[in-house]
Symmetry: C2
Subunit: 470 residues, 2 copies
Amino acid sequence: MTAAAPPPGAPAALRPRAAHDLPARLARSAAATGQGHHLRTDEVPGWLAERARAHRFAVRRTPLDRLDGWSFTPDGGDLVHHSGRFFSVRGLAATVDEGPFTRWQQPVIHQPEVGILGILAKEFDGVLHFLMQAKMEPGNPNLLQLSPTVQATRSNYQRVHQGARVRYLEHFAAPARGGRVLADSLQSEHGSWFYRKSNRNMLVETTAEVPADEDFRWLTLGQIGELLRLDHVVNMDARTVLACLPMAAPGPEALHTDTELLSWFTAERARHDVDVRLVPLDGVEGWRRGADGIGRPDGRYFRVTGVTVEAGNREVTGWDQPLLEPCGTGVAAFLYRRFGGVPHLLAHAKVEAGYLDTIELAPTVQCTPGNWDPVRADERPPFLDAVLDADRRGAAHYAAEHSEEGGRFLQARIRYLFVAADEEAAPLEPPPSYRWVSVDQLNSLTAHGHYVNVQARTLLACLTTGAVRL
Amino acid sequence: MTAAAPPPGAPAALRPRAAHDLPARLARSAAATGQGHHLRTDEVPGWLAERARAHRFAVRRTPLDRLDGWSFTPDGGDLVHHSGRFFSVRGLAATVDEGPFTRWQQPVIHQPEVGILGILAKEFDGVLHFLMQAKMEPGNPNLLQLSPTVQATRSNYQRVHQGARVRYLEHFAAPARGGRVLADSLQSEHGSWFYRKSNRNMLVETTAEVPADEDFRWLTLGQIGELLRLDHVVNMDARTVLACLPMAAPGPEALHTDTELLSWFTAERARHDVDVRLVPLDGVEGWRRGADGIGRPDGRYFRVTGVTVEAGNREVTGWDQPLLEPCGTGVAAFLYRRFGGVPHLLAHAKVEAGYLDTIELAPTVQCTPGNWDPVRADERPPFLDAVLDADRRGAAHYAAEHSEEGGRFLQARIRYLFVAADEEAAPLEPPPSYRWVSVDQLNSLTAHGHYVNVQARTLLACLTTGAVRL
């Protein structure tokens, strides 16, 4: 027996399984708008612009076969880095059991390692603030956006003990020492563009002194919510982490019990036949490699393209890489209704070929409308036209354009919306594979992985930060 | 707007998200021992023996190349059924980052479809009873065991609307009508023998009249618990479903908060490098196909063998199939301690090649001791010798031998144990990849898939049914 151990049978330090004060503390931070401890919200865009000027950033297109460090493998033509690290572009062959497209092939990003997306929290003046980073990513429409405290690949964070090169990483790599984990789950990324990619989404509260850095600022949740009402300011990695904040239920009632909701989800996941295989990139049907990258003659979906990056505030000062460039702006929208005073979202159990397991909960509408132009009216995604119409009429409760992960996607713009619905637009008994879910229910599912997809998490972040109140 | 819809803004029927009366009702059923509404516990073995006599059952070994309906594919030698249904035996190549074995190949069972394991519940005399089936499976040591109400493959249950051939399936295929779902989650099966297999584990309560069938009996949880103290009476499918009963926490305290537990699990899942691919069966290194099946010259792990089955109470009267036959009896044991009066189990975040995602929580010890005989002492599984020693001394709090899924495994015997530990045997700060988890915490994780592995669920079923009280 070690000296430090309690004697057998002695009471050990038990703790409540749940931190009951946390929802109220998060709500207080979400209510703190206009002004944080360190700066006003309206000072943030100027600070971001100043950080953009302080660093040399340049991104220019480069043909795939001239990307430094990247090449097509001789057997299969996959696009890989010579180090074997980062990611590769491979082929994917999918067969699904529903929808107008049941068999297809496509390029896909393959990156089996799990990265960390972490936001550090700390109380100032009794209000939780979150340490946000001004970070450049080559695919962002405006290059520099507000990002998590840490975005680290596993190769980054496993290097931490030989001297951290990613600022503040120590708070996430070993949070047991001096920090308190508020949320930590593996969340999926885009199922149409990534093959089974997930990242750790972490929120850690610290009471330690945190040294300042000129690329970082502490903001309240309410301030981040204000910034989420602007286009292209809060990056995708920040949004997905913020969605996982455990806001909990003050009034724990909903249309369906949690068990009914999980049972419906389980049935949806179990009922689909989805067969997905990685295949050689050079044999992918319907796609061609040309001077401007790998794309489709019909111009749909996306193309794989290359960029050369020059930057001054990164671990390295310049690099080449492929990026996936979507064709057209996407739309991701939740229809919502109040039932008995409780706001509910109409979630869609959506099949995407890149998911680890068949389906995840997506917004009511999630697609790139242009891809559906040639499709018969009765096969278009349900609720799409209602959402586009509400947006055209300016009738959406919330509408903003955000961009997806700028380290992998080039100018991937999605218009995010909340649209109020009534019984006619979205009935209490929705079509199969749709279900009304309370905001609290959707939020609490983010404690676990592979329930709530990345687009739904962006919309959820609008709710956890108070950018949107339903 | 449809006629049945509530007017916009009218209060809809909200319900509490959780059924707060359920844990007490389950506890009442677990306390009901000796005698249920329909029969005494000590009458069950006799009833099972009578059902075994009532049906013609015969299982004999048949060489793999003479199994009716099965053949080796010409390209790769996978063992498949001519219908393309049921399952196939393929090859698996694994590379993992830890342990004495970091690269290996093996045969594996591939069955991508999700089946239903469902137990129907109903109150008699104010106590929940569970409808258990006397069911034959060819791999069971004693052929007939107590099974869930329904064990159905997807091909079974999707046929339900053309006239159900699986008794009581309608309660699970459309539980919304007339039933109340108590639990419904996708749970994994054996990660060493199956490639990413999972089944729906369902518990449904009904208030409807349920017609009797001579192969079925209603038992209380307490009665099932009494039968779990006997060897080879309650089958694996029943055990895994019973583990998912939401017993909840009367005293919601534990050594670690739920968030800390999930964070540790997330870190364990994220840190491993596991590469697993399906490969052709005929090229699997270290395995040979001979007259008695596919096995290893060193006699370790398992062999793939064939059987011919004759039965009278199945959908078909006879069939041939391959079965996986483990070499030697396994052991699965939880070390347990009370901290502050709350029982905790020492869970192991265990890598298995067949898991959908890297790791799941396993018992403290889970292995086939014989496979580890040639391994250096310092590389043997932690806690294995302590468990074997306690078992030899008769010092285990619980020890019984159960068999694994008799439809896929032949005589797959595992000795299941609970062994009390102290600080010396199992310290408060256990080795990496081990963690103390309260019984309630482990039980509540079964609401979601891929947290608690199938061996841990057998041990958990001993706790939810009251077979074991810690």
